[in-house]
């Protein structure tokens, strides 16, 4: 089964063709990061305009790279949410046009299910498994007992972990996106500042990063007022240590409680070197999989793979009433 995946939920215009929910035949990603960089983050209206400019070229390139014709496609899988509403609508509508024109069934896919299925490209899923989803917009622990079945164990009560990185970077005067920069500085620093580990003992699987963010901001402010020199590498290392401690600890608790066979880490923050290291060091009894770097950030291959498995599970497709949604509940996807 050839599945055409479409992803436009944020600042990447991406179209991919995969075979049987496993093999990536093409994965074209047009990134807008350089355009948004100067604004310190993705700007919705600019993102929409860039998606419109690029989308037809990206569609055609993905078909061409896969050495196929549109007529060969069996199913179109498109990200329906969550994400920037205007950006989502461009992908959804472009997908609907192709669906209508070539009479190909269409299925809407949850963006986070895509991030989780990015792992399946290189490592077969074994159930039950725990997925830690960490990105600029998400921090969630998900239990999967079978393909395309999601149970949310917990989530952030305030800021997402990637967002906390961006905001700390902003306070320290570092460029956007903050995650990779803070990670890089943290690697050459020592975790000498004491930062809290919010909710680490909360006995549930929820997270909170807003208090940690405030603590970092206050410490930075107070040190500046006292004219104390801030060692920026150590500051970043301390922040990263606090964040990864909480993420790893909660993942271990979920692993033990549900007796799972695998841990998957998904989303943009899965690229974080501190998280990769600590997760692999702390969990040695079962495999911990991180997607290949190119599948950590937004891409349509993961949407295509997730769409295939959603279709296999539900045997249902959407109609042309399919719409984008800024917030979408992953659990209701089941």
């Amino acid at each position: 089964m050839y599945v055409l995946g479409v992803e436009t939920s944020c600042d990447e215009t991406s179209v991919s063709v995969t075979l049987d929910g496993k093999v990536v035949l093409s994965n074209v990603v047009l990134s807008q990061i350089d355009i948004h960089k100067e604004y310190g983050g993705v700007v919705p209206e600019i993102a929409s305009r860039e998606h419109i400019k690029g989308i037809t070229v990206v569609f055609d390139q993905a078909i061409k790279d896969a050495n196929l014709e549109y007529e060969d496609i069996d199913l179109i899988a498109v990200t329906e949410g969550p994400g920037l509403i205007g950006s989502l609508l461009i992908g959804v509508n472009a997908a609907k046009v192709v669906s209508l024109n070539y009479n190909i069934p269409i299925i809407g896919v949850h963006h986070i299910s895509g991030h989780i299925y990015a792992s399946h490209i290189e490592n077969d899923m074994q159930f039950p498994l725990i997925a830690l989803v960490v990105s600029g917009g998400h921090t969630e622990l998900i239990l999967m007992k079978e393909h395309f079945s999601f149970e949310k164990l917990g989530e952030t009560q305030d800021d997402a972990v990637g967002e906390a990185y961006d905001k700390v970077a902003r306070v320290l005067g570092l460029p956007y996106p903050g995650g990779p920069v803070v990670d890089k500085l943290a690697r050459s620093g020592k975790a000498e500042y004491h930062f809290p580990r919010p909710m680490i003992d909360s006995k549930d699987f929820n997270f909170s990063f807003s208090g940690l963010k405030s603590h970092v901001i206050n410490l930075n402010h107070n040190m500046k007022q006292r004219n104390e020199e801030i060692n920026i590498e150590n500051f970043c290392a301390s922040f990263q240590d606090a964040v990864t401690d909480v993420l790893v600890q909660k993942t271990i608790e979920a692993k033990n409680q549900y007796n799972v066979k695998q841990i998957l880490v998904a989303g943009g923050v899965a690229a974080n070197s501190g998280l990769r290291k600590k997760m692999k060091e702390s969990i040695t009894d079962i495999p911990v999989y991180f997607p290949n770097m190119k599948y950590c950030t937004d891409n349509a291959a993961m949407i295509s793979i997730a769409g295939y498995h959603k279709y296999q599970k539900t045997k249902k497709v959407d109609d042309l009433m399919l719409n984008g949604s800024s917030r979408l509940n992953l659990v209701e996807e089941n």
Partner: protein, 153 residues
């Protein structure tokens, strides 16, 4: 009309959010501003709770807009990233729609907002202590009076 109020705890935050919830109407616009960590999203959480929204409300920073469907919809926005741009026409449909718009860092898109709105400026005084400057024009003046009468701190 402009008043000053103080918050000393999360209970105070909730009490204020409750008074405002009781004054909401379709098309209501609330602008919130204050430093990172001053409690803009926390305040919105309580507002959502008293509006009857059961979903967990968390930060809209990444997507700029999160829509909560409800008897009265809530459009929760964080427009910090629009600082040097000043507007985003995609948000128009919501700001001028029939729900309640809560806009964090609203001053960055002031030119696209109507003059009549409720504005809350939050200043951090201590770990939990905040000073609030609450302003309202047009039909929001009456709401500022109501807050002044019913929220005691």
């Amino acid at each position: 009309m402009e008043i000053k109020k103080w918050i000393k705890s999360l209970d105070d935050t909730e009490a204020l959010a409750k008074v405002i919830t009781e004054n909401l109407f379709p098309g209501f616009i609330l602008g919130l501003t204050g430093d990172l960590g001053s409690g803009k999203t926390t305040f919105t959480k309580y507002l959502a709770k008293h509006m009857g929204i059961q979903d967990n409300l968390n930060s809209p920073t990444f997507t700029i807009l999160k829509i909560y469907n409800n008897s009265l919809d809530l459009y929760h926005m964080d427009v910090y990233r629009l600082e040097n741009i000043g507007y985003d026409y995609e948000l128009d449909d919501y700001i001028y729609g029939n729900g309640v718009s809560v806009i964090e860092w609203y001053e960055y898109i002031d030119s696209m907002l109507p003059e009549d709105k409720l504005e809350i400026n939050i200043k951090v005084l201590g770990e939990f202590k905040r000073q609030l400057v609450i302003k309202g024009k047009g039909r929001y003046e009456q709401i500022v009076k109501d807050i002044d009468n019913r929220y005691g701190n």
